[in-house]
Subunit: 534 residues, 2 copies
């Protein structure tokens, strides 16, 4: 029926909209990488591997107490392995962190920032949301009885206000709900009228046409006689009155279709949410770090904190890992029969190792992501009280700027609101700014969405992270080019002598906790296969 | 452009689908009544009335400790009134109840049912969800610091399986997500191709056509060259593998458009959710009755429990209310300067009163709704563990049958799942069945959605309510005909001598807690206007 349709280049501003809308819905860089790798967004493994046999006094040294290292230590420990974990920080969790009063982040240049939020307020500045498909994470959530709650990913109450939109809607603050209702209403009207005029008679039977029209009337809130979209009270009400004392409530006016089209604002949503970012996602009650802390309660005694690995060496008998005990400021050496390293590849590539050239090449290839976040403590939850927004996000389309409303503490007095989520160049710039400058920029940008509120209610407390500047990380998640991923992941998935690699970078879901856990599950199986028959 | 389009009668099965889908999205009977009244779904009042002046030793007798009576007692108490509340039950809250171990419901025939759920499990068998627009409720949530959490209203992971659908999709279990993605994909394709063929050239400029096509490609996940919908991984994946060890993950196959149209399943959703049933709603942590209990902590000492009002009389000096003290089995009389009755109108109409004939007529007019619910305790949360469904609902289209997944206790072992929500005739039938029969019917109907699971994991504990059979209610919410509402509400909104009326029935939102609270706000203002100048 249709002619071949060439790809149309999108205008720069349109692409920016999409990108801005996509940041909260899923970092586009990650999605691209995943698509190229050809793997999906979900986890098939429901439980750790079923390992037969018990090891005989086997020592396993695990480098890094992030979720991958914690998983390996926990599971191997259950099976009788003698595990020891070296962790450079004074706490476990890796990028599974939450900033709350007293939490300190250290940058590569030695500078530190300590969070000063009020009691009960926190910010998940690393991992922050879990889709229900990530079974491996929920395996431990269930096992360790970690209380969970909804992280509101989609909220149609959120605002969009794009000053760089084309046409009359530029700079106009609109609810996502209004845009959705109007775009779906107008397109339903166009199609319903086309059907009504007989244009699709060769495509659809009379019965199908009637069924389609029924659907379109309902989907688009069309007037069933004229097939026109004239707005709907479900896009929002102009006037509310529960007692009906002031006359009928009135639906708000729909936006003009052509202005909507011109603005490109319809491109901020799709027919269904992406499968890895459904309407509701999940977070532990009290902060994402509750997952790390639950693991820590299980394996804490196996962890040596403040242990900075310096080298990674092995011979035919054992693995030797010299490390600096930061507390005592002394060099020590850990030895074991096997080693699982979960050290980020960009850090590992800086260490002295006797790994093969091919492995060193694999380790050196991927780039760590540049990513920054900022959250501000507010002395009043104006977004809830004044704007009826409980969770979800608003967007200005300004790259790096996003308002993400907290999915906890609803109806309380104060709250922490995320006001920047920057990648790439934007994150570099953000990370170079002082905290005060970041806050000022965030307030200025956010005032567009919440005029007069962000500045007024800023409580003088903010916390930011620049993962690419953070000590022991020097980056967010690992970014492989599609080609490198295909070429080098198979290398790293195999042991190099007595050394095994684990971490989210080894999975198809870099940057997600499920990747960290499942990579550990696959690697301990390999360790066990060797150690238990050796 | 379009010809006038007559209303098409929908087939019975289609109407049943809509009704079934609508039940969880908002009882259709209520919506109809509201539309007719011409008022909306939200609340304009943000706070109780600001009443000037202090009363001088004024006694107010409040009949009923539901949310309306509790609100009146609390607010008048704050302003110096001497309030006393008579409550027929042994606890406050009215229909704001939660069933948990030990909770007993009494029917009109004197029979009782006691809930035996395990510790920590409960079922909100009365009021069960709050949209954020219901400001008056959240006024007290904030004031009393009631911890709140998300009640998941919309979850695209939920299933539909309609055996009475037409065509090949009859009896096939589908995710809401699949139906949405496919219907929006195919309709986007139809419209995009229509645009591409020039059919809308007279309607839209070249630029608008390109913008519309851009939107449709994204909205419908269309192939950008052929403009065809070929499915999307966001409708669901056939195969998941986070480690990418078993080859690429594959999107599931889309359903056939004509089969979807024939089935009518697209009519279960709309362009946006209804404004009073957004994706996320709210519930108190630990049960809806936490709202009632919070009020009770404030005004409990003013409440006389187990006090069954027998008559409502007044003279020029005071109100006299004889009541039976059920505990002591004695008749007593309460006297006061003013009375606010929140007794359901269908109960009030049975009492001896000296109200005017016009008022009696108004009281006798509305019909209480017939409504029943049933919940089953399950010994495993199979809907979460096996089906990836955390909150939301599934539907079979069988009237009265709905599966509503709990929005609390995620990832725990056991859970309580609602398996019937019946109105009208269906509720009458349900209410006449024994609990065992109700359970058996619910299991049989629900096994269609969760084959082999409902029966296997039923934990032998269930709780049901038939509000129309429940003592002191004898109905759910108040149902006015549009004509009666217009005619009689103005009568009941004015005092009858020293007697004032309050309750959700007086508002445009019967059946919602916000109506109960706001009606109290309007009535205490009237009491005050008289009492403080008298």
């Amino acid at each position: 029926m249709a002619k071949a349709h060439p790809d149309r280049p999108q205008s720069v501003s349109k692409r920016q909209f999409l990108e801005a809308a996509g940041i909260v819905g899923g970092a586009s860089a990650m999605l691209t990488a995943l698509d190229a790798w050809g793997i999906g967004f979900s986890s098939s493994a429901l439980a750790p591997p079923d390992l037969k046999g018990r090891p005989n006094n086997i020592r396993v040294l695990i480098l890094g107490a992030g979720l991958s290292g914690l998983t390996a230590a926990y599971e191997l420990g259950l099976r009788g392995y003698d595990c020891k974990v070296l962790e450079a920080r004074s706490f476990a969790g890796g990028r599974c962190q939450s900033a709350r009063a007293g939490f300190t982040i250290e940058e590569m240049d030695g500078s530190t920032r300590t969070c000063e939020f009020d009691e009960g307020l926190y910010f998940n500045h690393g991992a922050w949301r879990l889709p229900s498909y990530h079974h491996a994470v929920f395996h431990y959530v269930r096992k360790f009885d970690i209380p969970m709650e909804i992280m509101v990913q989609e909220n149609d109450q959120g605002y969009l206000q794009f000053s760089n939109a084309d046409g009359p809607l530029a700079g106009r603050r609109l609810r996502r709900r209004e845009i959705k209702a109007d775009m779906r209403g107008y397109t339903a009207e166009l199609l319903a009228k086309t059907v009504d005029e007989g244009a699709l008679d060769s495509e659809l039977s009379r019965q199908n046409k009637e069924q389609l029209t029924d659907y379109l009337i309902r989907e688009g809130f069309l007037d069933s006689r004229s097939l026109s979209y004239k707005g709907t009270l479900h896009r929002g009400l102009e006037k509310f009155d529960v007692m009906g004392l002031t006359g009928p409530n009135t639906p708000s006016e729909p936006l003009a279709f052509k202005e909507l089209l011109e603005s490109g604002l319809g491109n901020t949503f799709q027919g269904v949410t992406t499968i890895d970012h459904p309407q509701s996602m999940y977070q532990p009650v009290g902060g994402m770090d509750q997952i790390a802390k639950a693991f820590e309660r299980q394996v804490g005694e196996k962890i040596t904190y403040n242990a900075e690995v310096q080298e990674l060496k092995q011979d035919e008998n054992c693995v030797r890992v010299p490390y600096r005990d930061k507390a005592a400021n002394e060099m020590r050496v850990a030895e074991a029969d096997y080693c699982i390293t979960t050290i980020p590849l960009n850090i590992l590539s800086q260490l002295e190792t006797d790994l093969s050239d091919q492995t060193k090449e694999a380790i050196s290839k991927p780039r760590p992501s540049t990513v920054g976040k900022l959250a501000l403590q507010m002395n009043r939850r104006f977004w809830e009280e004044d704007d009826n927004i409980y969770g979800g996000s608003s967007s200005t389309g300004v790259p790096g700027h996003t308002i993400i409303y907290p999915s906890y503490g609803y109806f309380n007095q104060k709250g922490v609101i995320q006001s920047a989520y920057a990648f790439g160049r934007m994150a570099t710039t953000l990370g170079e700014m002082s905290l005060e400058e970041q806050v000022e920029q965030a307030i200025e940008r956010s005032e567009v969405i919440h005029p007069g509120q962000f500045r007024k209610h800023y409580d003088g407390k903010a916390f930011s992270v620049a993962w690419h500047r953070t000590k022991h990380n020097e980056g967010g998640w690992t970014q492989w080019s599609p080609r490198d991923r295909q070429k080098y992941l198979p290398v790293l998935r195999e042991p190099q002598g007595r050394v095994y690699f684990s971490g989210d970078y080894l999975s198809g879901l870099a940057g997600w906790q499920v990747g960290a856990i499942e990579s550990a599950w696959t690697q301990i199986e390999k360790v066990h296969a060797v150690a238990c028959t050796a």
